[in-house]
Symmetry: C2
Subunit: 672 residues, 2 copies
């Protein structure tokens, strides 16, 4: 760092001098403790210091096929790094195999994603969650050592959300003790699984299980699709690439079809159900909801990644905004740093606060999930519905918030944000995908809404509520909540708002039922309101968790760290209160004067955070390798880097492009 | 069409059978009259029927360099088509040289844009707007015949919005009667101009004019940058590609620097100012605001393109939603068309309505602009400030609305919307760029706000107001507007809301001035509110224009056309009223019960529009060639087309990718 510091852009150096809090302390809070920070930095040094993550030619200059091939090369390098270093990293286990530390470091290697993403992200967790002990003993060591590479294929060309509608069949043949896999239609082809097209040789396939002429619904099977020595697709397997996408072009998302393809009976994942040799179907006595495990695990990861990618976007946008200068308030003055504009602060500081909110919510969700897993082992499954409802809405809101705020960061960078060399388009392409996969935004909020309506009925019945909805127990008074602009007061108002919207939605639902509609029809017609209620509930939970965690985590912090972290969590509350004025007017006693005061305090808060803005994004501690951004690098040499990146364009390798002689000149001379 | 109709997806055929209005009538309304539709179809037939727009290998499989080269090939083909057919197309002139008909047909050739985009889009219009008659006589014929190709370079690496801050210099040398062009710093390099990197040989350059030691501010110059025969950059010219972008990768956006590069005195564009042979600077007596011409022209085009691209997105999403089936309300039923879900209708029908609103607003803005140009010729420049304020906010809101609604269409298509073969990512990449260039969203709304604050002061002074702000004259009563849920009532409430927000913003501004802040400081601190006021004003204008134009244009329509067009324009009003409940509660007398009724009526309207949804997108009359979408084609064979597109992926040309032997296998065997 020291030798580079002499070259740091003076505006950024000035910003760092202004920062009044201890940046390292904040880094520890965000990471989840000093020990995690140390582990992370150690692993980042091991993985990145030798420059193996860097490309000679940037992926943005390549065709999708070239991108894929480059990604395979780097995935193998990265897999070796992980294998070599994983043994030393015991602390990681607290956040699961697919640790954020590994994931964030991987981002230095891939501007998009690794083709191995679903191997550790879905294949291995599903082996752990759906296999018997014996099956795990057979499959897990080979998978963890990457002797085989797998993915997870559930979605089909014609079927996503509605799992019961899947068409792929696995029909048991007792004579050979095999399952016969088939894709009866075009729409039954598996579609989307990452790494499926060219990379993996194994695949977990979700299919309708038939035995003795009876369909027992969807079950997961382990299917070998390519020869381990030659990598050729096996007979009966049709596999290929689904083509270019908005993002993820380094991962070979694939399609997969079966034609009387046979797998051994033992390849059915038998933890929750089994087919005996004679074809008898046996449901293992186990709570049906135990299969939520992998699903919730993946959602926690997605909330965490939303936080991480938003942190990258605001690091880029805040640093650039400290360097970029535009207009001067008076004709003779020098141009202002754009970070000095109120509109720019309004766009960016909520991004920093949201990155904190999502990060702390993901850690909290992980802890809640771990507690639930422990409870399940004790046979207590009471908290599962709540956890499911919670992970659904947090995944939905986190990915949607992060995606739209990443775009806000890009807009805040003007034209340069549109360059791939800004790094910002990659972040949006990634996060906007996570808004859809593993549960679409709308579908997930409706799942949470279903839980909320049940909670509403429990309140009516005088029954007790689980923690995250306990605020509902005294919410349906019909009276407006007295407005209180303290942080706790605003959180209570968010709860009142969620309760009010829920109550309106239930009223609509019941009015429709009374008019003679079926429950399904009444529900369907009320979905706009139900989603709005679920979103309000989730905002209340996220706000409260963020605020509580900040109080808890800064208990022993130095005064200025405590102050700036509280400023941000208060900013988050003010921001969302101002975004929801209509709802506040309906469900609280807020007055026009209160709104004026709230807006003024919000604007004042922007000015208070301003001097610490660069320090706050520095505290995310994102190495330049992770940002892939000419605008966001630590040294702030924005214009030099933009030009350096431009000069790497293959179009600049020759003064005149070949198309001049073949097309342009004949056209201009009227001879084409 | 007839032979294809037998193959139309049955769900789509059923939708078309349900449509109760005359589709052709609606097409004429959208196009701006039957004659325009006929002209358009004639030109589309001429340009597209021979299949010249189609690629053997899709651009999405190429590297950016290959995309560029393919785009040059097709641009030359398209330029010839335009040259051959342009003579017959007199009707086009009513919408300017850069007619929407040419632009929309070009989209069949380019999934992104043509490298010639700025030749007809900026180079030629600027020649027309900034050159003297003599200069035009010299330059225009060569440019229109494409003997030379030009672009427009204003933005620099370090300077965008703030034109006074541009650094490129043009210093007059009376000895040689030349201007000497220089790029004194890295940040002074021209950056972004489309076609600049490799395509154009001429460029309009905006530079600081120095003569006799005095700087006279920025002026435009015509600069030859490449040899007409060899296409080599001329000595003193540094030109190249700026690298890959989120979109526009078929256009070679470039950088340009000068090192003592000399151009003849006559290459200064001299309509508004001249430098005489001896170096004397002469400001031609002319209204300074006349240079708004090209700027407003481009903004009208951008509003129109926002409409057109949003129309494409909703054509894709609505057709796909009629074919896609998901979940069944009862366990035994077949899966529903996703278009039957209220949430899906909520996402999509506002897109159809907004496409209409933007289209009709763009035509209206064009007419207003033409009237203004005519008035300027008569020496009347009174309406210029209003036109400027209007074009600013309409450009800002149109591009922002279209971009976010295109993403909404993509989300509504689930995972498949993320495929490039859906066509949707291209539309977003294009429109989100137009949100930034030619005036950033925030900057433009602040320009409108400045006009609104002046209007506020005129009301206080009892002075008359120009038409688009005339509603302000009786708005500042301090009383809440009585709620009236008729379309006209809602439009009045949007005006009340704009007036209320403007009033609040002015109060904040004045409070800050009274506290001792300078006008610039007070303005800066009030910008969040000022932008909100400008947005509300623009929404009121757009809503009123949309509603008025629908009434006017359907006066002689058949009853069902009239009905469905009114349903959509009412839907637009309800949608935005529900989005702005907070503001309505503050500035009108709307009650909780009114809101319940409004929501119910909105939901009923969705159900009324539902049977006509596919007919409405068919009425946009977008040929498959323009959509580039497996999801949106007229025949609705979605899954067949998705698979056909997938199979074109170069990764599918070989069963095993080369990286298996070089990387994957050694890694799996532990030998890498």
């Amino acid at each position: 760092m020291s030798e580079n510091q002499s070259k740091v852009n003076p505006d950024l150096a000035m910003e760092r001098a202004k920062c009044n809090f201890n940046i390292t302390e904040v880094t520890h809070i965000i990471d989840g403790g000093e020990n995690v920070t140390l582990q992370r930095k150690k692993f980042e040094d091991a993985a990145l210091n030798d420059g193996a993550s860097k490309d000679r030619i940037g992926e943005e200059h390549m065709s999708p096929k070239e991108k894929y091939e480059n990604a395979i090369r780097k995935s193998c390098i990265y897999a070796n790094i992980v294998k070599n270093d994983l043994a030393n990293m015991t602390a990681l286990e607290s956040f699961g195999l697919n640790s954020p530390i590994l994931r964030r470091t991987a981002d230095a290697f891939f501007k998009e994603v690794s083709p191995f993403l679903l191997h550790l992200g879905m294949f291995v967790p599903t082996l752990m969650g759906q296999c018997t002990q014996e099956q795990q003993a057979y499959w897990l060591p080979r998978a963890l050592d990457m002797q085989i590479i797998g993915t997870y294929a559930q979605t089909e060309l014609g079927h996503g959300t509605f799992i019961r509608g899947l068409e792929t069949t696995a029909t048991y043949d007792p004579e050979t003790e095999q399952f016969v896999m088939n894709s009866p239609t075009l729409t039954s082809y598996k579609w989307w699984a990452g790494g499926l097209a060219k990379t993996v040789n194994y695949c977990i396939v979700v299919a309708q299980l038939y035995t003795k002429g009876v369909c027992h619904g969807t079950h997961p099977f382990i299917v070998q699709i390519r020869d381990e020595e030659t990598h050729m697709p096996l007979p009966g397997i049709k596999v290929g690439d689904i083509g270019p996408k908005l993002g993820f072009n380094t991962a070979d998302n694939g399609f997969l079809g079966f034609e009387n393809y046979r797998i051994p009976r033992e390849n059915m994942m038998m933890k929750n159900a089994q087919v005996l040799k004679d074809g008898t179907y046996v449901k293992v006595a186990r709570h049906g909801k135990a299969t939520y495990g992998t699903m919730v695990f993946v959602r926690v990861i997605l909330v965490n990644e939303a936080a991480f990618n938003l942190a990258k976007a605001c690091t880029i946008a805040v640093r650039y905004s400290a360097i970029r200068r535009q207009c001067s308030p008076n004709p003779e003055g020098s141009e202002l740093q754009v970070l000095d504009y109120t509109t720019q602060q309004h766009k960016l500081f909520i991004c920093i606060a949201t990155a904190h909110a999502l990060q702390l919510n993901s850690i909290w969700l992980w802890k809640t999930f771990s507690d639930t897993l422990a409870a399940i082992k004790e046979g207590n499954v009471d908290t599962l519905p709540e956890l499911h409802a919670l992970s659904s809405c947090l995944k939905a809101l986190s990915t949607a918030d992060a995606a739209s705020l990443i775009e806000q960061c890009r807009h805040a960078c003007g034209g340069h944000g549109y360059m791939m060399s800004s790094g910002l388009p990659y972040l949006y392409a990634f996060v906007t995908a996570t808004r859809t996969y593993e549960g679409d935004y709308t579908v997930l909020l409706l799942q949470t809404a279903r839980f909320l309506v049940k909670a509403y009925e429990q309140v009516e019945a005088g029954k007790p509520l689980t923690p995250t909805v306990s605020y509902l127990s005294h919410a349906f008074t019909g009276k407006k909540l007295p407005w209180d602009s303290s942080p706790d007061g605003i959180i209570r108002s968010f709860q009142a708002l969620a309760a009010g919207k829920l109550s309106s939605a239930v009223k609509s639902l019941r009015r429709r039922l009374e008019s003679g509609l079926s429950h399904e029809q009444a529900w369907e017609l009320s979905t706009i309101q139900l989603i709005s209620a679920a979103e309000a509930h989730c905002r209340a939970v996220m706000s409260q968790t963020y605020k509580n965690e900040i109080v808890r985590l800064t208990e022993n912090s130095s005064p200025n760290v405590k102050k700036v972290m509280q400023q941000l969590s208060t900013l988050y509350l003010y921001y969302w209160a101002l975004e929801r004025i209509g709802d506040l007017l309906l469900f609280t006693s807020i007055s026009e004067d209160d709104i004026v005061v709230l807006r003024l305090r919000y604007e004042e808060l922007l000015k208070e955070i301003r001097p610490n803005a660069v320090g706050l994004v520095d505290a995310f501690d994102l190495r330049d390798e992770l940002l892939h951004s000419a605008l966001g690098s630590y040294d702030g040499n924005v214009y030099e880097r933009l030009m350096a990146e431009a000069l790497k364009s293959p179009l600049n390798a020759e003064p005149v492009n070949q198309t001049f002689n073949t097309y342009l000149k004949p056209m201009m001379k009227g001879k084409l």
